[in-house]
Symmetry: D3
């Protein structure tokens, strides 16, 4: 249905298509005329738009459009300060008859939330250790609703609809395989660490049901998801009668999984399962960011600088 | 009663006095003869001692002496590799009739534990804020027994009998006065932060009733007293019905009071009372360490290097 | 008299009031018409203003207005790129009959400069140590004129009229109180350190009599106020016949009060009075910055990021 | 056959068994008598030994014993400065009839070198990419002889007989599995990176056929195995006719696999296969070090500090 | 011939002169009218220019002007956001009859490329060591063509026509003199290090024959000129039959000449000639940057912040 | 005359020669017998010595020997813990008839102090700038006596008799030559900076007339030679009527010559002469340390780790 995706727009294109409105405002320019200032998005990216010289009769219809709405737009793609921009000729709010697919407009994990949730639940239910199993199942059930849509970050890696589920799922997949090689690892403990490590992002980040983060919660800013996670395990462990050693080891896994003090972990991992948790987390974040950066890169060329990768520019080869 | 204190011994002194035994062992020297190897202490310091060529008839009496006992010793002060050492001629275990004062042998805070505890309790009971008052009183009562003797550190500042009480008391004294100058500070919140900030050292450090630390607990190593403190407040706040904002702010004060990630605080203080808590803590630690280093320094001279002060050598002036 | 303060302006307000001109210029827009570009301030903040389409007959009056003048302005508050801006309709230079209060336009310490100066002088005159007393009184008298208005910084904490006096006064208040708790400190030495530590900011920063800094002096850039302060003490100590130990200790206090090499102190404090000077300085700077950031923050909300506090966003509680 | 292993010796044990001699020397003690000074090892650790008061008639036999020989020793386990030590009563050089198993004395990888080599070769031969296949097979064949015994480090992780083979083998096992999860990775490129990344340790470290490193080579100190590896690939790629893009990407993988400049990598990974190589390397090193540290730790206790793990003390749980 | 140089333009100047076009484009303003957007340069700097309200009949001539062309411009110097800008009234493309001197428009080293190249070649040919001589002569001859114009950097020091030659020449001059003082240095080795150290910038940076860099090559980004230089020496040393010690020492000089890992050198210099190479390089870079920054600074004043000098502002004295 | 130098002694040598006594003491061993404990030196190094089982009749003669005396010793070279040691058989104090050359025992600069001093003075007197000339001559004359023997450091580079003179002389030699290449440098200013930069080491370090440092002075520890140097220039500039710009620039050169805050410079060089001063200082220190480390290294081998060179091991080539 949707024909023009923001990620693919090129300067001088003439387009007509639907977009989601991130922000919309009537402003007055330096020539003292009013114009429409837009910030639009779809699942592939974001772009600003301007409709110059808005006349008074147009205002009522424009005032109907709010942040989060969908609009149909006829526009030219221009360039301003090295950034693409839409010079809008026509704009109208979408109506139900437009039959838009939400998935076209929202950046989302590539798998269905239900399937991913079930994958996590199965892994939890398949644990041999009774304590870890009951704790993981409980935490998954307690957070099921929000897990369906929560992103794994406010920005950066997995900042997308169901990004948290996708992040945990892929880490579980790798975790299982790494335990085949390093057989001294307690697989249940690794899997439990993976399931629990970022769960409190649900209470640290404030996000809507489209997986879009608007900021951080009060407790998130004051304590952060590592400390919040420890508090949750502390309470649940008492409720479920889990022994102190197991509870504290899980709390330690959460506390140490960022590894470095400057990234939020005051303790370094003190047993192999805590150590491997950190690397599983790093691998998934880096593979995500690199994959995304290379998707919009031409073969034989370097990507734009990627902020989350220390401003590296990644290379996409031609011979592989 | 006690005449010779370890801190004042000089090479070539001949002494006869009581000391506490930190460790004692019979060993065999490179000349294949057995000798007695001692590590003795009193409230002013520590010293090694050797009794050479121990004969078999001496053994039964020596075997009666255990770590932690008190002994009477006749010895010469010698020097070995730049360290003073006792060449012991006679040694016997102390008996009740020796009427030793424990306080002569144990490094201790300069005030009575009971008085200091009461000072803390009065400050807690004097708080206007009902929630903070009930929480602080509760925590003080819950920990009263161990507070009486706990040191504030395994080594370094306030590693002494009742050192934790003394540390908190002096911080409270300064806190009250600083709130007179910076009147925008909520005094109850500052005082509560001071009372709570290090309380879980009681469960992080393992110490005996003489205030001597033997190491760190399992939970202490896995989480540390900041995280342990947050868990305690989390549970007590729920039990006492304290609102979330207050509880989380107190937890944040504990989490942030070491200020820098590399010293264990993943968050920096986010309100003035948390900020001032850090400085009150620093000032008390630094004044303690500096006072101690200068006590054994001659006027017009520099102290030995002080490890806790980045190896600085402190100066003791002659004209002040 | 003044009704509209910049700190309180909200978008869409219509206002009419006096402001101080930081900069004023006639410019030519991309539509080739001339407009008036203004940067205005009062004691609560700063704002840009534009008067579009300036006609030639207006020019003579506008050309009379210079940087530092006061103007009466009729304007609408608009928003541009997330910043508030004034769309000016009318503007005229103020006349004596407007009876403006300078204090409404200049950010200033909350106490009278005379009172603060007297407070410092009394503390200096009350010192027991003859050398420190004569040195401090001399330095205060030598710098009296500039002290009345000098800020304590070019920007950041205490960058305001008489900010330096206010900074020193509050530090002295805290210093006296801390010496009650840590009785081993030489109070005269601490107080002298406080009075002298930043005095050469007067010769490092270039500021006008409104306490507004325009930059750094030649010697300030080449040496900085720590080194400049040492040179001053070196000369005065010789003139006043102060012994070498005292002079060098004071010089060391100034040299070490920034504590870390990367903040300008090549030596760390080597005696307790130098150590406490650093913390008194830190506390006053931090309490000032935090108080200011929270003044314009709503209860239950976080402030904007504060650059001088490592970009922290401070929290203003509802329950305290 | 061997009964007493150094790793298990406890003070006061009386033992009689064979050990390998790391160093042996006749020395003269402070009592002016000659004694035998030994440094012995087996596959579980190292220990010093002393035989006091060596008489002249003993010397000819003792002089026959050289570094690297095996000896039979009768001794008591004593303690000296907190370290265990052997007080030797009898010592003789081993003879062929003692039928010693070299494997009892040499720390070695837990798998047979031949099997591991074949595993690597199979993986290389199974590559789809012709260039990578021919390069990897060639490098494996060129280095086959030394690969059989080379350690992966002079000390630290995998400093053992065939340690390099074992390190690469386990990385290949994990690499294959990670490529199942992150399907955008080019598996051949990852596997080739693993096979090549440390190969030049063979020319950086100087080691004997027992896998014991004696130091670093001239070129190893001047350039290091990363740069040496690049030079090798540069020459082989030319010889095998491998295109520039592939060759440079492999060189980049080697150059960047230590990730941080301070660990020897001037460039960070610029494509996902280079990124994952770093994590595969880290995981294997960390799992090795942690496994080893915990092997000699009691359940419910912490290990000694591990230098290669930032002096962490690892925990061995009781409930898992 | 050329009268107005960009480095000397002051606001409100009216000028008429030739400039080189870095970029040129027709754009549409917020008033929906087309305008000409220019970025012009000469050997003293760069400036933007705008020609407002371009009419359709002007377009054919304007469209003839391409990046890299020379234009004659009549314009006013205005100021926009603190930057000087040209308001263009007339513009035409230059014709051969204008007889422009390329040197007026291109930033270039102050000496002739031929002379500098000969200087280098003479130094190489004057070496006593046969191996170093043949290697240096060969490398100079292999790179002669590009050496004539290559800059020594993409930006920063010596980013100018023939900048690489000039950088090497001045380093050679200093190297000879330093070897007179430190007579234990092997002069041939120092001189060879200087000639070779940056040679592969020719293959790391992509630059045109005017010495203007457009970016970095594939191999430059993947490996960098240090590693590229090692590869080159490795191949040439084999071809020329230079012994391993000499070849590896030269490779080490190149590898270590940035000195710190974070600047690209995984090894620090391990012999005096490698050490001095680093300092010769630093001195030349710093003298260049400082000289350039002070050229446009008034006596008694400070320069703008210089990015390559840690944002220092340099001082130009009046009394020297 | 002297036959055996400490730097060349090998284990098992039997020697008889003179040495200087750094420390001497009678001690009692663990076998309860007295022995003589010696620490001896000559210009090539230091070594410990033991004379076992000292009998009472020997004591009067031994007691005559004091620290700093010269002794004749007959001894065997033994090894203890990897360090060479002398087992002394005979020892006697030297007498005038032994005709010892002080230079054999004291580490010293390779040139005569008088010559070096004259070199410095000539350079000062040859300055064109009257102010710099009079200041430098004055400082050289004021410090002439101590300059004759002062080392340039307490340990590390130039810690030797007249080391400070030698350090300054070689820097002046390089400075002159560098000014030939970088002709924009003011040579007088560079030369003055070199002469003055370390002069206050004379008042920072406490050293005897043999150039051996015993520690740091009170003012040296409190302020350091950079600050001390600024104070001296400040006073002399006033006395000699040198203008403020010149005085402050010289003070800045001294303040900034360590370059990095963590090495004691709160400001970085702000003009080229200050910048070059830093590099001249670095080069001379590094060339000195490297030359010394390589003197005792065999060709084709690496030196011991050099602490002042970040623990590098330097290489001494065979083919140069």
């Amino acid at each position: 249905m949707k024909e023009f995706y923001i990620g693919q727009l090129r300067t001088d294109d003439e387009i007509q298509d639907f977009f989601m409105v991130k922000t919309i405002a009537i402003k007055i320019g330096s020539n003292k005329k009013q114009y429409l200032d837009l910030f639009l998005c779809d699942k592939t990216g974001e772009i600003t738009g301007k409709k110059w010289d808005v006349s008074d009769p147009e205002l009522p219809a424009l005032n109907e459009i709010a942040d989060g709405d969908f609009v149909k737009v006829k526009a030219n793609v221009t360039e301003w300060n090295g950034m693409r921009q839409l010079r809008v000729q026509k704009i109208r709010k979408s109506v139900p008859e437009d039959h838009l697919e939400l998935a076209d407009y929202i950046k989302a994990a590539p798998e269905k939330a239900d399937d991913m949730y079930l994958f996590l639940l199965e892994k939890a239910e398949g644990m041999t250790d009774h304590d870890l199993r009951s704790l993981c199942v409980r935490v998954l059930e307690d957070n099921q609703e929000k897990l369906m849509y929560y992103p794994a970050a406010a920005k950066n890696h997995h900042a997308e609809l169901s990004g948290l589920l996708y992040h945990v799922k892929r880490m579980l997949m790798t975790a299982e395989r790494v335990c085949e090689v390093y057989t001294n690892l307690n697989k249940d403990l690794v899997m439990a660490g993976v399931i629990l490590h970022d769960m409190e992002k649900i209470n640290e980040i404030e996000a809507d049901t489209l997986g879009m983060a608007s900021g951080y919660s009060f407790e998130g800013q004051m304590l952060g998801h590592l400390i919040q996670g420890i508090k949750t395990i502390d309470r649940l462990a008492e409720e479920l009668g889990i022994g102190k050693e197991k509870a504290v080891m899980l709390e330690h896994m959460i506390l140490s999984h960022h590894y470095e003090p400057e990234f939020g972990s005051p303790k370094k991992p003190l047993f192999p399962e805590a150590e491997i948790l950190h690397y599983l987390d790093m691998i998934d974040a880096r593979m995500y960011d690199m994959h995304e950066a290379l998707e919009s890169t031409t073969e034989g060329d370097f990507s734009d600088r990627v902020w989350t990768l220390d401003n590296r520019r990644l290379y996409k080869p031609t011979s592989f």
